[in-house]
Symmetry: D2
Subunit: 402 residues, 4 copies
């Protein structure tokens, strides 16, 4: 174990990663560099700096990654209408590759030979952190304390903290759930959720009001798209992170974006999670709406068929893999004509498309109309179209196939 000289730790400032910080020093006798990221999780970062300093850390990195997160990770993912297992908007999954990237960048900048994180050995996040780290810095050493140490219960963890004078806030309001938050979502696992028959408790949810308590009048918004990304809300241009933060606020106020799911983890077991993704829920619906008028049918279908695969790549931690990058090339290429405006009605948990328009629309009312189209479309063509499409089945039926 003596071969680790310096390790970059993804450090939140909370109990777990504080214990890890100390444990790394004790166990590996190595120097620790802390890295704390603002991904929009809504927590102050300066306390993390103070704690790290108090524990003797000399190299402390605190980065505001919100714009990079939304611009280079969230938005590209939404271009594919990505959902995992039909429901999950991948809020946690999509943040991990960015953290992995920064861990590696900081390791390279500080001459560290290892990285460390606070993810457990049962979850997906360890995989996402580590696949990213290995892909970007193949010789890096990864230290995953939860897979190594014997501090397997909260009691032993607290005892370790006490023994090493790590300050613990025993009386603060602490959620009983295991949570993760960033600009895209907040997630909950554990406790009563471990019973899939049990309904989530109302006071668990933090970002959204319930549909019941949401306003009794709908909110209308207009989202402007350029190359598949939202660039303005109600006509006001704003940055990617501001777009998402704004949609979170509007969506949350209207009871939008709650999800209660049993999902399949990459490590092989099913787990129950609850998610709040107000802005993301709006974005998925709106993106499909603008694509519905701007995308060619076969392009859209091909995207739909490949989406589950793309979603699994992200869920499983393969953001930095060559196959994800290759597929992104195709997804991005499809978005050039995805420009225009979507009008949405938000009401008590519902995201309702109220209109879509685009200079690049392929919707042609002169052809689709039930009225006389002045010869734009020759109905007689349909007969040949059907006859030839039926031919192989007619031949088979003639030969007695059923």
């Amino acid at each position: 174990m003596s071969d680790v000289k310096k390790v970059v730790l993804a450090y939140s400032g909370g109990l777990d990663t504080s214990v890890i910080l100390k444990w790394l020093v004790e166990t590996y006798g190595c120097e620790v560099v802390t890295f704390t990221a603002d991904l929009g999780q809504g927590e102050e970062l300066e306390p993390a700096r103070a704690k790290a300093q108090a524990m003797g850390v000399k190299e402390i990195y605190i980065d505001d990654l919100r714009e990079e997160f939304v611009r280079d990770f969230v938005f590209p993912m939404f271009r594919a209408n990505t959902i995992y297992e039909g429901e999950y908007l991948l809020g946690t999954s999509i943040a991990r590759p960015l953290i992995a990237k920064r861990l590696v960048e900081i390791a390279n900048a500080t001459g560290a030979d290892a990285v460390s994180h606070g993810a457990t050995g049962k979850g997906n996040d360890q995989v996402r952190f580590e696949l990213g780290a290995y892909a970007l810095k193949p010789g890096v050493k990864v230290i995953a304390p939860w897979r190594e140490w014997d501090l397997t219960s909260r009691e032993t963890l607290l005892a370790y903290a006490d023994k090493h004078n790590i300050p613990v806030d025993r009386y603060g309001k602490k959620s009983p759930y295991s949570m993760d938050a960033n600009l895209l979502h907040i997630s909950y696992e554990g406790q009563v959720l471990e019973n899939p028959w049990a309904e989530a408790e109302e006071d668990m949810w933090r970002w959204t009001v319930s549909p019941e308590t949401a306003p009794d009048v709908p909110t209308y918004i207009e989202l402007t798209y350029r190359c598949g990304d939202i660039v303005a809300i109600d006509g006001v241009e704003m940055s990617p992170a501001t777009v998402l933060a704004t949609l979170n606020q509007i969506g949350g106020a209207n009871g939008i974006g709650r999800l209660d799911l049993v999902e399949n983890r990459y490590v092989g077991m099913k787990s129950r999670g609850c998610y709040e993704t107000p802005g993301g829920t709006i974005m998925l619906k709106a993106h499909r709406a603008i694509e519905s008028i701007c995308l060619d049918r076969e392009v859209a279908h091909l995207k739909d068929e490949l989406m589950p695969r793309y979603a699994s790549m992200i869920y499983n931690g393969y953001w930095w893999s060559p196959e994800r990058k290759m597929m992104q090339t195709m997804i991005d290429a499809s978005q050039a004509p995805v420009n225009g405006v979507v009008r949405l009605k938000l009401y008590k948990g519902n995201v309702i498309v109220a209109g879509r328009k685009s200079e690049d629309s392929l919707f042609d009312s002169t052809i689709a109309t039930f009225e006389d189209d002045g010869g734009a479309y020759n109905q007689k063509d349909a007969e040949g179209f059907i006859k030839l499409n039926a031919l192989r089945m007619r031949i088979a039926a003639n030969k007695g196939r059923v």
Copy 2:
């Protein structure tokens, strides 16, 4: 044209198909057999009989196909969580192959050599009717009057009706939309909907109340699944058609199942449609929930990847094709363990999963737990799992790939 002796007409009793009935006799000098089906569209069928009789039809078929429709078409389709273009529940598409089948059966029973329908030359329905007919009776002659005649406006149609003494209800309350209804849904096209930027008018919707006017208290229901199909609601066993009718009633009362969509037709143009699918919307959500605990991960993912293809087959009219039947074999095989109960909360347009349980559940809380699992899962295994999954990317990175 004299080669048609007897034609089976899909007859609704409305103006269009009444004119067609007359036009067939006039144009082809053939005998007409009418076929009117109760698919749950919510209209009396006896008036159709009376009208057909009045027009001199001797062979009149009026069938209640509701159970067959739900049991053999709707339920099998929902086993795949089928949605077209991410949104559409295929309410119209799934009814057409049953009508095609009955047209052919009646043609065989009555010795007819042709079938006819009232679908226009611009839509998908002509394709669905005719592909089905050709697949089941390859030598059949199909007559699609809308592609042949010159009655291209409502005025010429009414004039034709008047000239031939076809009774027209000019003063009844008639929706201005082009509509289609069956137990799964009701659809609207045309009029203001031809502008994708225009919001649908509230008084267009017929089956659902708006979320705004839905009850202020949620409704909870429990759906019991057996082999992927719902067999009971709130513990009361009921037939497939009764299940769907009941869910329509409950869903409609809670403002559930409205959809406003621009979709890509098989014949090549985009069209705007609005749909009400209250029961289907509930079924999709519930089926995913029961599958989430009962299905293996890779089985579920494979289903998800193939679903868009399967949806297109149905949308495009290939229900009776060998590829749809082949794929159905696989979908059905996956559903043996899909048994259990889903508890739903319905509230103002929202379908919220409140619980799922199953004797066949693969959810194992002793493994997924954040608590000590007593050795059910060895966290150290994760290291090797990650290392080998990362290997190809590490080798590539070592060789300088980025």
Copy 3:
């Protein structure tokens, strides 16, 4: 029919297109522009010019498209290891979009409002020509004489030729087969081939010697790849068309590239075809070989899974569609690291990989070796890898699933 003023005809100079030329003038009273392309079919083009002049054509286009054909069509297609229905190398299919493109370019240059071709109404080529033409010039009028006229037998065609003084070479050596040739392949259909049980006659084949008569000693060649394309043979850099012509010569001399196939046409029927694709057969094998060391596993597998779809797009005539172009983006992106040399042994119909090497190889003998690898790979990692991959199946088996 009087609305056609000028038509660009894909003109070979043979009987069929000469009759079409005359028929267009007679039937449409329009001016005809002829377009004759050298795609490497191995025929003199000047006779076509003379014949067109003799028939009074004023605008005659004769283009050498060989380099464009191989560089922009054949090579991109081979980057995907494209084969239709497991066997067919798409020799005819890939030439049609280039001809469609030139027809449209010439129509635009000459102010023509229509294009015409000599493909029959039963085949794929009409679809390929016309889909290309419509995609590139949506308002173009397409004239397909074989679908319009009543010259349905060779006799009536000859009679028409005689009547209009079109010179017919009745005594020249004419193959009884329907053939198509370009730099990629030559194809044969019709005659005895219409019986799938009948073996093709030896004297049908034109480009290859039989394996039996090929040399008794093997030929070794080395192909150099850059970004997935062959840029040199045996170290000699050469242009794309020269690469393919050279491989055709070498392959043909070694009895390589014959194929006898029953394939499924896009228009719905099965047809029997025989193909000689000597260079293409070598290229497919070699490209897979260079990719085998240069491509990431998941990239390669994704390409393999999408290839049949991509092949169908080309076979069906959708080269100019947005979905083909989108997919090409991804395929091309994958080829950046596909550089190196493949050594092949060619012998009596066999293409045998004798070696492959690359600066971009991901093959790492220190890891794959059966010998001691000095710690490059930790065999113990495999246990965790297997355990977690097995977890979902173990949980299921524990619950009694079989």
Copy 4:
């Protein structure tokens, strides 16, 4: 380690598994049951019995699994035209799940709590054995000595053998390659093959003559298919294993079935392998030929698109997974009409289709013909078919899309 009481060892009788046998007893103090299978590898099994007895084994299983192997594993796999990475016929992969199944059956019969095998920690076979074992007996303990012990070189292995009086045949003719054989194939890895640029040595190959030394006259054979499986050769009905053994003999004599490949292992590295699969090479070609006339186009295409996924399942060891079984349902369902006869010409490495016929053929020469078809197909239908298929591209082009 003392928790293992009895272990079933996949035992070949060779040095490696003899050392493992002894090592298991020494290390675990457990009883060992040996299992030796005849999968057609062409070795005597009785010496294995004698050796096991000599080493004190009391429960010895020696099974002839050849028919089960071909009937339940090889044939089902060939129904899908399965090839991994475009080339590999999965000869090793398909045998492992059968061995895993028997190991588990014997463990259940003998009350063993563990199974063991001689596969290394770098290869695919460990994964295939163990995934199978875990899927069929989830609580089984797997012992993989190569991942545990320190006998990492041949020298230490021989020393261990000497020390424990395990007889070693030091002077017998031993191939320097790592080999695996069964009725479907024989494989070679290691030695000079670790350099992908080096050509395989001629004297490595064991089952096939070289194309050069194969007979100068071709061999014709006829294969009869029933539901996708070969049931007779040249009209003589024979069992599955006899079919494959016969084709191996005929193919090997004609220089058929050699393959030299760099493939991607599931554990993450590339490896070079050479394979001889004479019968399998013939079967793949023949099966595609019979399918070409019997299968519907869309069924065939769907099979082709899913095949790479199915191949990966088998290659990676997921034969006993629910997703493979689900997919098999679909593959098998497609084979009902795959009946008939394929005639092949075998000549110096070439497998050439010389004819195919079937009562279930969908080939209809009256439609496909270039001659007058008497109205079986209306060429005019093609116009509408093309026009509607082009519609979306025309609309896009009209809007200026390129």
